[in-house]
């Protein structure tokens, strides 16, 4: 059984798909860093960033709203920033009471919260687009070229390869539990919450042990084929003139966004 649910790559022959993966990875990272650096309430820059994103969406032939739809999943994580609503000093907007404490929402806090929301939303969308238009192995190669430490790219590569194997393993465990979760007529199936928790804990332990043993076997397989601590890769990627133009253009646009955000 295959679980391709994680494979976000969409086979297409668009302009973005054909770009060198290094360009895509680099521009995405610069875009995200630039977003993080924008000051609070830089609305013009946010709009500019959004236009850049929509243009990228169009170039990918995946449709204008492609990343917007998928980004909603990641949005709840931005709610971690909700504390800034109360902690930034400023003019109080309103106060409410919760569990015997008073919370005061300030205007500066509100401004920062909305800015953080927009920044993370833009960044998440760009990352989603990157994964949708770049095959994962190519992405890892790109990171290697961009001098990301080999240990990191190796971990990512292995994670990607074995995520699928692990999910299969989890589903096998779940199925095995389900097949034995029987009940006699008239009785409720399963024990108490504690007992269930213990079963779940045992399953997590099983999964860890199996993965641990598998890692041993994989390491042996690597040793057998000459691995001695360094990973070598071949790569056919070649930067074409178009790739340089796009990089230059993207950096200029991001730079303009930064200037717009500061004046």
């Amino acid at each position: 059984m295959h679980f391709d649910a994680f494979d976000r790559y969409h086979e297409k022959e668009s302009f973005l798909h054909r770009l060198d993966p290094r360009v895509k990875a680099l521009v995405t990272v610069i875009f995200i860093v630039s977003n993080a650096l924008l000051p609070d309430g830089a609305w013009l820059a946010f709009i500019f960033g959004w236009i850049f994103l929509i243009a990228a969406n169009l170039l990918s032939q995946l449709g204008i709203g492609y990343t917007l739809k998928r980004s909603l999943v990641a949005l709840p994580f931005a709610l971690i920033a909700i504390t800034v609503l109360f902690t930034i000093p400023g003019k109080p907007l309103f106060t409410f009471q919760l569990f015997a404490s008073h919370f005061t929402v300030t205007d500066a806090g509100f401004l920062r919260f909305v800015s953080i929301l927009i920044r993370s939303w833009l960044s998440v969308q760009m990352a989603i687009l990157l994964v949708a238009v770049t095959r994962f192995p190519d992405l890892i190669h790109a990171l290697e070229h961009l001098k990301v430490p080999a240990i990191l790219t190796t971990i990512i590569a292995f994670l990607y390869r074995y995520l699928f194997v692990l999910t299969d393993e989890v589903f096998r465990l779940l199925r095995a539990r389900e097949s034995r979760s029987a009940a006699t007529t008239g009785n409720r199936s399963g024990g108490g919450v504690l007992w269930r928790a213990r079963v779940a804990g045992n399953m997590a332990g099983q999964l860890f042990l199996r993965s641990y043993e598998r890692s041993d076997r994989i390491y042996n397989a690597m040793l057998s084929r000459g691995y001695s601590g360094h990973l070598y890769t071949l790569n056919a990627h070649e930067m074409k003139p178009r790739d340089y133009y796009v990089t230059a253009l993207a950096i200029v646009v991001i730079f303009v966004t930064q200037i717009l955000g500061r004046f």
């Binding site: 994989i218 397989a221 057998s224 000459g226 001695s228 071949l234």
Partner: protein, 251 residues
């Protein structure tokens, strides 16, 4: 039921040049479990030998010794070179070990990268690596799978790619751990044809006695960490009492 160990009752066939010589190999796991008690065997050029025996007989442990992943007491010689710490890389280039679970064997994102892993780590130039990958994929009839992702393949396809990953290293000795386990009849048939065609000395551990009968002129039987028989497959498979005594079955 007590198992009686028969001293090599089958004379091994005449040998020419030896690809593999194992002399009196002993090994115990760190937890004290003793897995090999004085295993000896010889494989000559072109030999295709089946290694059979019940689970826990020490087959896999033995295989892990043949390219130095485990190191017990005793001697292992590959093509005349004694296995030591210093010549491990050279030995590993000569011994192609294919593990039972192809998901352990195929650890790279794409088929190409997996088949190229061995040659790349042998330090070959890029053109050679590419030529070897193409030749290995051609040998297992999987050329069109070059750029596929490993996790999208079926078990039978994974097995064939797994064999290609060591063929690309041009090994003098091919060692396969249960190659036919978990395959449907068609995939198994393809594998058998593939193994028959490969002109490489091979040692294949298996529980598939029909495969042994069909493919391997010579069989080595292991039980409880010892070689209990080494000889012509036809003779070994005829001795039903012997097979039953070692947890095996006549095909």
């Amino acid at each position: 039921m007590p198992v009686t160990h028969v001293k090599n009752s089958f004379a091994p066939p005449e040998v020419g040049g030896d690809v593999l010589v194992v002399k009196d190999l002993h090994f115990s796991y760190p937890d004290g479990h003793s897995a090999l008690h004085g295993v000896s065997m010889k494989l000559s050029v072109g030999d295709k030998v089946a290694l059979v025996g019940p689970n826990g007989a020490g087959k896999s442990t033995l295989m892990l010794h043949l390219n130095g992943i485990l190191g017990g007491h005793g001697e292992v010689e590959i093509a005349g070179q004694r296995l030591t710490r210093d010549n491990l890389p050279a030995i590993r280039a000569m011994v192609g070990l294919v593990f039972q679970n192809p998901d352990d064997q195929l650890f790279s994102p794409t088929v190409f990268e997996d088949v190229a892993f061995g040659p790349l780590h042998m330090g070959l130039p890029e053109a050679d690596v590419r030529a070897r990958v193409d030749a290995a994929l051609e040998a297992v009839r999987m050329t069109s799978y070059r750029d596929r992702l490993s996790h999208h393949l079926s078990v039978g396809e994974k097995k064939r790619i797994a064999i290609a990953t060591v063929l690309s290293m041009n090994p003098s000795l091919l060692i396969l751990d249960e190659p036919s386990a978990g395959l449907d009849p068609r995939a198994r048939r393809t594998l058998i044809n593939l193994l028959r065609e490969l002109p490489i000395t091979m040692l294949v551990s298996t529980h598939d006695m029909k495969l042994v009968q069909e493919l391997f002129p010579r069989t080595i039987v292991m039980d409880e960490g010892r070689v209990v028989a080494d000889g012509l497959t036809t003779e070994i498979l005829e001795d039903e009492t012997f097979l039953t005594a070692h947890g095996l079955e006549k095909p």
